[in-house]
Symmetry: C2
Subunit: 452 residues, 2 copies
């Protein structure tokens, strides 16, 4: 395996930037991360790099090098923003002080998506050395955003307004994972998402529960009641009326691909640290987490949370709720159905507010394209095994923009592993995946160049 | 009305001490508040003051002056600790920088219980001036604790071990409220409490909800399910099996007293800032909040609570739950029933922990005693109206120790008003209640002295 220690050093610098897109305090860090990306694009032989800002959002990094319009054009996508780090106390090393140990790089964003996207960028730099001053056999565009973990509002707006700048034969996206370390995978589907915040407001101020308890409805009880009615824990089904209306049953093709996927339930449960699985009856665990919609409460708050006790009847309570959707489900319809249902089941005496946090439609790709074929061969050459076709349960909001809105094909050449701990404490990325990932992208784009 | 501006100044100094008993960071403030109380007891002519500490808890202030064992003995009780102050942002002036405005003293603890107890203490100082060097007609004992808002563990233990030191004809307790500003009230009943913390543990770490969502049970959904099953929002009934087994129905005497209580439902709702009441069907609002048990969720936590979004499936979630009990209900039995029920209704795949935070039995007093009579006349002389007999929905953990364990009669000569905002931001105490309260206690103890 060819190693690229100098690129590992550069990645470590990238990982030191705390580019948390959802926290306003990191506004400057976001700009610094965007500048880091822009500089690396220039170092890959693409001199004209543009930073675009939409509605005071985080900068989009755009670049293009079109040497011959007759050649195929690839659009590289990645994101330089990362998730928040809490609970901070559970990290073994500080999230923004990258630690390389036992072939792993520990840092927030190591796998999602800085490490993966950097592998794609460094592959481009290697290719620029090979191709040198000659006409490149592949036209290259890049669009790198800083709001993937925050709903991707800027890229969605900018992409809709600049479809020509993004015109390409296909988009190359990192930010997905192998099904197992020894089984490379290419995703052909992603779930969509409808993320919302529910607030329940009751009394005008926090009250003494001895004085008011039993006499007025408690917003926390109302919240628990509503949340309990969203999901049937016995059947694993979402209880929102109409939620499943547009859901297409799992197809024969899905089942054929799934049969080749070495999904290991015991391993899945061990990674989560739970004894038993749970979910919608009638489906396998792999189907539940990839090809069926789900609902999770992501956070809950209200009343006294400190040490000890406080006998308070709180004035408000709330929850963050997200639904993972199959590609057929329209997030805005789901949001509307949920809002109507929540307001209907809420007890009297409280005021309900449902605010969308972000919405993204899922995608389902054509697995017959020549790019899928070339990607599969490139990965087989580097990783020693032909990739399986997988569906991912996660969401990449921009994938729907590229696919449904701009009509672009997508190749998900993700380099993560299932135990990378995305969004969790002690997120990591394997150096082997980093080095081999660089190789695989080089080989893939060389094959694409031969298609012209 | 006689005013005592010098005592108001002293009270303000008392209110500046942030004596929050449940927060370990305030340990030294607790000691400072205890010292303040001890010094004021000495200034009231009782020279021997003892500070007792049980199991590293907050100091108990004990004092006694027995001039003639043939005379009646009163035991004054109060507490120098206060509730936490969050949400701090909702205070109009800092909670420990007392503000006197429009006849109100705004500060944490102004009414609960520093202002009320200080009125009793200052009444004693006035009496000590009147009685001077002569033999006092009433023997006086004081027991002032610093854990009333934290379960009262120290006083409960110390009282059980030192019953003789607390022997008295009756206990005089502040820390209750008038039913309305123009209607003085004497409580003859208090609700008990069972306060517990419920924790639901699931995966070994926080997980990505896209990768795991729909495949393992979410601790937040499990928590919502359990909490929703504790209370029937339609009937207002607690759903824990056996919860009502020992509850005695409201008696004829209760109804006779209640008929004289000018409980104003519209005013109650206006103070809470809600449009409609809620609670157990078949009972009036006044009955629900004073003579019937209730259940409230006091706080809830789990997952991401920050600004924006995080797609996390959290490893744990929890809630603080308290049940207000009628005097017949045994808190430890209720706790056991609740724990069994919660474990039974919890979905598979999560671990449940129920920890008691504190327990206290309610009290129901004999309203025929001569001290009740004397207290009523004293209050009528000062406030211009004979008090009504009320039951309070709140709990004073130590009241059960005095009443059931030590066999002492209790007179609740509380000086609070219903809109004082106990446990809430902008807690206040009326200066009129403070000044008249001093007068009422003076007159009451003078009458007690004439009983000898």
């Amino acid at each position: 395996m060819k190693q690229y220690p100098e690129y590992l050093e550069e990645l470590i610098e990238f990982l030191k930037i705390p580019s948390i897109s959802t926290l306003p305090a990191h506004k400057n860090d976001m700009r610094q991360a965007a500048d880091w990306v822009a500089e690396r694009v220039r170092m890959a032989g693409i001199e004209t790099v543009e930073l675009h800002t939409v509605d005071n959002g985080h900068p989009l990094v755009y670049a293009a090098r079109i040497d011959d319009t007759a050649n195929p054009t690839v659009l590289l996508y990645g994101h330089y923003d990362v998730q928040p780090v809490d609970p901070l106390g559970e990290w073994h090393s500080p999230p923004f002080s990258p630690l390389v140990k036992d072939g792993k790089i520990f840092a927030r964003g190591a796998s999602d998506d800085k490490g993966q996207f950097a592998a794609h960028l460094f592959a481009l730099r290697e290719l620029s050395k090979k191709w040198g001053d000659k006409k490149w056999p592949v036209n290259v565009k890049l669009i790198i955003e800083g709001e993937e973990e925050a709903g991707g509002v800027s890229i969605e707006k900018w992409a809709s307004e600049n479809p020509k700048k993004l015109a390409a034969d296909f988009v190359l996206i990192s930010d997905t994972a192998f099904i197992r370390q020894d089984v490379p995978s290419i995703d052909y589907g992603l779930r969509g998402i409808a993320y919302m915040e529910l607030e329940v407001a009751g009394p005008v101020r926090d009250l003494h529960s001895g004085v008011y308890g039993g006499g007025i409805v408690n917003p926390l009880s109302a919240l628990a009641h509503i949340l309990d009615k969203l999901l049937d824990l016995d059947s694993g089904r979402v209880r929102i009326p109409g939620f499943y209306d547009s859901v297409v049953e799992i197809t024969e093709k899905d089942r054929r691909y799934a049969a080749e996927v070495p999904f290991d339930k015991a391993d899945f449960l061990a990674r989560a640290g739970v004894k038993e699985d749970w979910g919608e009856t009638g489906y396998t665990t792999y189907e539940r987490i990839t090809s069926r919609p789900s609902l999770d409460i992501n956070g809950i708050y209200g009343g006294f949370q400190g040490e000890g006790a406080k006998t308070v009847l709180p004035r408000r309570a709330g929850a963050k709720i997200s639904m993972r959707l199959v590609p057929e489900q329209e997030p805005d319809i789901i949001l509307k159905q949920t809002t109507e249902y929540v307001k209907k089941i809420a007890p009297k005496g409280v005021d309900i507010s449902c605010k969308p946090v972000y919405l993204a439609k899922g995608v389902l790709l054509d697995t017959e394209s020549p790019y899928f074929e070339a990607a599969g061969i490139a990965m087989e050459e580097v990783f020693g095994r032909r990739p399986v076709f997988t569906r991912s349960g996660a969401s990449i909001p921009v994938a729907n923009v590229f696919n449904s809105i701009l009509g672009l094909d997508i190749i998900f050449m993700g380099l993560g592993l299932p135990d990378d701990g995305l969004h969790s404490p002690n997120e990591k990325f394997e150096t082997t995946q980093f080095y081999k990932g660089i190789e695989a992208v080089i080989k893939f784009l060389e094959k694409v160049g031969q298609m012209s």
